[in-house]
Amino acid sequence: MKRLFEGGMRNKQLLSWVAVVVIVGALLLPLVISIPLLAQEFEEAALEQAAAEEIVGEEVPVQQIGRDVHYGDEGIVQGPPAPVTSDNENDYPRYNFESRVIIWVATQQHLYYGSFVLAVPIFVMIIEFIGMVTKDRSMAKKYDTLAYDFIKISIVAYSITAILGGVLVFTFMILYPTFWTYMTKIFHPAMHVYVLLFLAESGTLYIYYYGWEAMKEGLLKWVHLTMAVFLNVFGTVLMMLANSWATFMMSPAGVDAEGQYLGNVWLAVHNHLWNPVNIHRLLGNMVFGGGIVAAYAAYRFLSAKNDEERAHYDWMGYVAMFIAVAFLIPLPFAGYYLMREVYAYRQQMGITLMGGLLAWLFIIQAVLIGALFLTTNYYLWQGMERMRGAERYQKYIKYMTFVLIVCFLVWLTPHTMVMTPTELKEMGGQQHPVVGNYGVMSAKNGAVNIIITTTILSFLLYQRCNKIPTVSWARYGNIALWMLFGGAFVNIIWLAIYGYYIPANVRVGLSVPQVVSTLSCLFIGTAINLLMMRGAKPTGPVEWGKISVRSQYAIFMLATSFTWMMGLMGYIRSSVRLHWHVNEVMRDNSPWAFTHTIGFAANMISFNVLFFWVTLLFVFWLGTLGTKKVVVEKVRVVTVPAPATSH
């Protein structure tokens, strides 16, 4: 019996290790899938097999060999050329309405909901995990409730996502049958995998959600968390598969110049822009998801009937905002990587995006990015009101506002200005000799890095608002922080100026030390700050719920800006193909193969945003139905709760 017991202990340990390996393995799965090398090995194996068959001398029908438009490898042609469409009812059946607008709305709505339901389980998993490892039982319970609150919102959204997915597929089949047939001929195996994964994800999600209560203790809780891991792995792979279809349309691979499929779906999936889009979307989804949940919390905060509810939803909004901002900080760098790859793929495409036809939309994007960071800072400053002792730091707000606004002005100064011909003559040229210099990348990189660094500074000040450090080296810690931020500001500004005096390709490289300065402030600054705050003397508790309503409107603004920006950038990414369904392979010959005016596009994006938010309000309202009156403990939080992602 004793041996069995000891064996049981060992088995338990073994089981834990197996569980850890399974979880880590599952988390790595999307990474493994994204390695392009594997794709090429498949291709080589297929060719070797074909060669071997020829050597054996069996009667093999004559096989046509095609050259991959992207990888340049040879492959056996296994599909018809890309269809040459024409403006008729067969290729483009239509209602008395612009088909492209219909597909635009369907795609955008599906993407909004899809992003939301992919992102929320990721941070539900993180919060559940934090709850499980938190020793303070009341905090652990709070985290667990929070995670449950989050997943509850996404469960209705999940059904809507599925419905919108159906709408999208039917819209493609009905309005663009020839194009859709071509795509399915290439991607049908991946599409089947997609459907199966969707089934697996749905099953996991429902067990995960409905099993929350039943699996709240002991080993079952770990099983529950493992389900969250699998839920996210399924979701991420699903997203990656769907991304591959969109990026195939931008940068096709796995087909020859005629668009003939070369038999390896793996190569078509691994097209040039697939991974950059994967990374960008994953981060973007997290920001978006965080923003939506924060908006939900703000909605509940504003409609709260008592202080307890207000405190709970204030805290929920804070955590969701924190997640959104944590992922917002690396997002511009992922965007930079994506754009770099676009340029590397086709210079023409890059210039159309950032210098040419679509450049004005990038100005709007710049405004929105700036607005996001301004709003984030504003929310943090408002949050200081929750804490006694914050007055020490509130006096710095005016200086930070100045820095942010000046950088924002540089950030959004257009290189080419909108002006009347009279103004143009007065100015003596398209570029203004003074502020025109802010229109180039060197100034903008400097400005955006200063904006991000100032946001980090706001966060650090927020963290220490209600604490007085007691560690013996507090003075040196403060000096170190001053030096860190001062050094970062000097380095970023100096490199921004230096960038004007060196060739463009070297200048691009300057963004690396600038980003390093910014990230150093984030990681080293946060680490020093946290260490300094260990055992700090509190000046008062964080009084959750004692925050201005302005802060909640700031959250709404943030969430709406995310939504608008997502619509905008999605439109830009899609319309850069110009008159191609599949870039340089299948031409769009529908009557709508032109690029819309900026005004029309902006109205469409606004319509999509409005439509999404109206339906989302319905989802929020559903979230309040059937809610048991949650007994929220009076919050007595001394430390500022921050998810593990902060350090």
Binding site: Q348, A359, L409, K425, M427, Q431, V440, S548
Partner: protein
């Protein structure tokens, strides 16, 4: 008031703004702490708003287009809002006179409210009238300054892929193509008869430039030639870091060879009087004039490779 110093303008502007704000904050602090005069928040906000407007309207020369000033002014307003409402105490102080006017409990506030109730709708209608009244000025035109280039361009029967083509005259002492040859010889005298081939080609390019291009692009290559102001917009300023310096040499080759008529459809309508120079110059002459333009402005052409 001294003007902007050439070469330092962007930094000077930021430094001046910093100075204005520093004086403002310091002044308010001295008044408050040392002299006991507290300037109401609303008044401070109005001051910052007007100071910003004044600076961008009158300090910057040449004048900024309205669209840019409007953006700046909106941003200044946003900044003011963020500042006054960042803490509850300041926000209450800021709102107090506004609420007092709306409540109109004293004769003064009653009169202020009455005047505002007349002035505000009148201003709104006045602005509406100004915006809607027919004007003789030309409408605003959104121009795409950087056209997307084609993948390849055919000049005098030869195809040049823009991504990979190189100038045949950007060559070092060994006759090899070099991205660095310009840096090494940027201070050389083009009229030196013993100069290397690269400098001879720069000189020939210069001759072509002054025979054909400088009438519009100017003898300093700054887009202010004899005929420049007959065009709207005026010709490209090569000394601006946003023109030649941003472009691959092949891009410039395409633009020179094909001129205004060769611009792509996507950015239509184009406003360019540039002739297609392939009809007047040989391929070699086009490459040489480009060589000269880069040499003269000291900007190296954009490359995509690692340095």
């Amino acid at each position: 008031m001294p003007g902007f110093i050439d070469g330092m303008m962007p930094i000077q502007l930021l430094a001046e703004l910093l100075l204005i704000i520093a004086i403002f904050i310091l002044g308010a602090m001295i008044l408050d702490k040392k002299m006991g005069i507290h300037i109401p928040m609303l008044l401070q906000a109005v001051f910052v708003f007007i100071a910003g407007w004044w600076y961008y309207k009158y300090r910057i020369d040449p004048p900024l287009p309205f669209s840019v000033r409007a953006i700046y002014q909106v941003m200044i307003s946003v900044g003011i809002f963020m500042w006054v409402s960042s803490a509850e105490k300041g926000w209450i102080e800021f709102k107090r006179p506004i609420i007092a006017v709306l409540d109109a409990k004293t004769p003064l506030t009653w009169w202020v409210r009455a005047v505002l109730l007349v002035v505000l709708p009148l201003s709104a209608s006045g602005m509406t009238y100004i915006n809607l009244a027919p004007s003789l000025s030309e409408p605003i035109e959104l121009r795409t300054v950087h056209p997307a280039p084609p993948a390849a361009v055919k000049v005098h029967g030869k195809k040049f892929p823009l991504q990979t083509s190189e100038s045949p005259f950007r060559i070092d002492e060994n006759g090899e193509y070099s991205d660095h040859v310009q840096d090494a010889h940027v201070m050389d005298n083009p009229f030196d008869p013993d100069g290397i081939d690269y400098m001879q080609n720069v000189k020939e390019g210069g001759e072509i430039f002054f025979q054909n291009c400088h009438f519009c692009h100017g003898d300093n290559l700054n887009g202010r030639g004899l005929y420049a102001f007959a065009f709207n917009p005026i010709p490209a300023n090569f000394t601006d870091p946003g023109t030649l310096a941003q472009l691959q040499e092949t891009f410039v080759f395409w633009r020179v060879a094909k001129g205004g008529p060769g611009l792509p459809r996507e950015g239509f309508p184009w406003a360019s009087a540039m002739p297609p120079w392939e009809q007047h110059l040989t391929t070699e002459e086009i490459w040489k004039v480009i060589l000269f333009e880069y040499w003269h402005t000291k900007y190296p052409p954009r490359t995509w490779g690692e340095e």
